[in-house]
Amino acid sequence: MTLALEPVADPAAPLARRNPVAKLGAALLFSLPLVATLDPLTPALALTVELALLPLFGVRYRVLARRVWPLALAAAGILVTMVLFAADRTGPLLVTLGPFAITTGVLVNALGLMLRVFAVALPGVIVFATTDPTDLADALVQNAKAPARFALGALAAFRLIPLLGEEWQMLTLARRARGIDAGRNPLARLALFGSTAFALLVGALRRGGRLALAMDARGFDSGLPRTHARRQTFGRADTALLVGAGLLATAFLATSVLTGLFHPII
């Protein structure tokens, strides 16, 4: 079993090569305007820029589509919810579906929200599609001065996640072997799910404890300053990526304000 977040991009692409911390920081900066305003223009602009930059990250459009298709479900959910429950039904009436009046106002709001879902998610998807988890942990420790105990501990724990899937199957089968099944009773199903999840948690904690002991036995708790076998550098190009993301974010906000569409969340 492989990790779902393994990088899938061409590692030599100019922006994929940037320092993981720079990529993460740029993604955060870039997303700021998206959570500051509710208008549909800002996410539309952001999404356009994101899609245009994709080749520079070495991510193929087909790969991206495979990664983000679950978001299409979320977008469809938004559309349905807005059509049914939107309080703001201003603008010219387009069509009436039974008791629901579909106006341009409803559709514009729905469109804004759907675009926002994609625009906010994409930078994160791009960062993880182009970043090796080990490199991210290294960069967090070396360039962002994150505590090694946290960054490497999380990395090691992350490695154990695929084991949970196998463990879940074994626990489920073992319960059947003991004569425990829920049949069609939904309450019994819930109880069985709960008890299996608890057993999984207990097993995960034990395993985590053993891993922590093995790490400390190799001096992870020695208190000495750690040296770094793999160097992560933060150069000018990385700074430029951060600055570029900041400038784009400012430009989006400025456009939104100047066109009069700016609609603050608070």
Partner: protein, 465 residues
């Protein structure tokens, strides 16, 4: 270079009444290679943890003293390396080379020295892959080799190995023993805990036997210790080399068929297989890792649906379609890891669970429980939590839970894996008796001795294609 001195050492885990280890006086000289033996519960692992400085003061009570080169173990941590049983929870990083480098980074080794030392350590253990080999793609034996390299890179004066082969199949075990042998140098003191004595003997020059009640029972060269105490140690469960094991042939020919699989497959796990098992027959399923043995056990146990093919089990029908309660009356499954199967917090409740779910009366349930506790020597542990049992006790309990609903067919996955000699003999005897009483036994196993001792029929799965 390291010297170990213990004077009247003892340790009691917090909240326990009994001492895990007590009254140990020992001196291990620089460069000695020691095999530490003792029946399960004699405190071998606790002693290793003490030497590794991994017993925090607040986790229990100690007496006497332990010194490594005259230092307390907590102050001598960088002189000591320890390899544990489970390879999966010893590897930290995603790539093999990075994992060996992890310890060097922790010990503040300058960056330019790290990679030469990583490469040297990997060479010492005979690691055959490049540095960027994903650790997840390694077999158990290879992972354990890598874990050993990660310790050797730190150049410990004292190397502790806590049953490094216990979680591995025979091929993986051989791999790690070769690695230990080829990586050893005269400057490293070695203390090894290992059940499989015959295989471990070429690695050591001294044997120390711990007494369960406390103290050291024997100490000397392997030949002297085994000449003196071999019989008694074998009786206590130590795998003393050269002792014959009992064999159990079937007393009568097999009877009716209990399960029949025709051309069953499971996608990506098992190629087409046809096999059947009969009442009064012990069938051993053998084959290399990845051949799908455990998957076949799940299929025959009615736990998994085949992707294609047919399974038919007595009294009729595909067992994976039966309700769980019905299944337990017909086929009992014993998993490789007993703790997967425990669902209550008392040994007696574990045994009562199956019969209760079949709606048996309280009197009949308690009669079944008492009989099984007695038969599998678990009476003393009736009130204990199943998760606190030793490996042998947990195995006996997991077999007992399958027997509680009196199924005619028993499917076991690696039942003898990691067991001491005493539990092994008891288990084989129990299974032989069940077979002779007309039960069908199917056992997936790597254990050649087990096949010789019990199997009437052997079914060998080919290597994964």
């Amino acid at each position: 270079m390291a010297e170990v001195t213990l004077r009247g050492f003892g340790w009691r885990h917090a909240g326990r009444r009994a001492w895990a280890v007590r009254g140990v006086d020992l001196r291990i000289a620089h460069g000695e290679r020691v095999l530490l033996l003792g029946p399960s519960g004699a405190g071998k692992s606790t002693l290793l943890a003490a030497l590794a400085g991994l017993l925090p003061e607040d986790s229990g009570e100690s007496e006497g003293s332990v010194e490594i080169d005259g230092l307390e173990p907590s102050k001598a941590r960088e002189r000591v390396g320890i390899v544990f049983q489970d390879p999966q929870t010893q590897l930290v990083m995603a790539r093999s080379g990075d994992d060996v480098a992890f310890g060097l980074e922790n010990r503040s080794v300058p960056a330019e020295e790290i990679w030469p030392r990583v490469i040297e350590a990997l060479e010492r253990v005979g690691f055959p892959y490049p540095l960027d080999r994903p650790t997840a793609a390694l077999s158990g034996g290879e992972q354990q080799r890598l874990a050993l390299a990660g310790i050797l890179a730190l150049r410990p004066g004292l190397l502790l190995l806590d049953e490094p082969t216990a979680n591995l199949d025979p091929a993986g075990g051989a791999l790690i023993r070769t690695a230990i042998a080829r990586s050893h140098d005269a400057d490293t003191t070695l203390v090894l805990v290992e059940h499989r004595v015959a295989e471990a003997l070429p690695l050591v020059d001294r044997v120390i036997v711990l007494e369960p009640g406390g103290g050291v029972r024997a100490d000397g060269t392997p030949s002297a210790v085994f000449a003196d105490l071999g019989d008694r140690l074998a009786e206590q469960g130590v795998w003393v080399p050269g002792r014959p094991l009992p064999t159990h042939r079937a007393v009568s020919p097999p009877a009716d068929s209990l399960v029949r699989a025709e051309a069953v497959t499971v996608r990506q796990r098992l190629p087409a297989v046809s096999v059947s098992a009969r009442a009064g027959e012990a069938l051993a399923v053998t084959g290399p890792n990845g051949a799908g043995k455990s998957t076949l056990a799940l299929l025959l146990g009615g736990l998994l649906a085949p992707t294609s093919g047919r399974i038919d089990a007595a009294p009729g029908g595909a067992p994976h379609r039966w309700r769980a309660a019905a299944l337990t009356q017909r086929i009992g499954s014993v998993f490789q890891a007993p703790e997967h199967q425990f669902v209550t917090s008392r040994v007696a409740d574990e045994l009562a669970l199956g019969p209760r779910r079949l709606g048996r009366s309280a009197a009949s349930v308690s009669a079944t429980v008492d009989e099984l506790l007695e038969r599998l020597r678990l009476t003393r542990l009736a009130g204990a939590n199943p998760y606190t049992l030793s490996g042998g006790e947990a195995r006996r309990l997991s077999v007992a839970t399958a027997l509680a609903t009196a199924p005619r067919l028993l499917v076991l996955d690696e039942p003898t894996f990691g067991q001491d000699r005493r539990t092994w003999i008891e288990l084989v005897e129990l299974l032989a008796r069940l077979r002779d009483d007309g039960h069908g036994i199917i056992a997936v196993t790597h254990d050649d001795d087990f096949v010789t001792a019990l199997a009437d029929t052997t079914f060998a799965l080919g290597p994964a294609s």
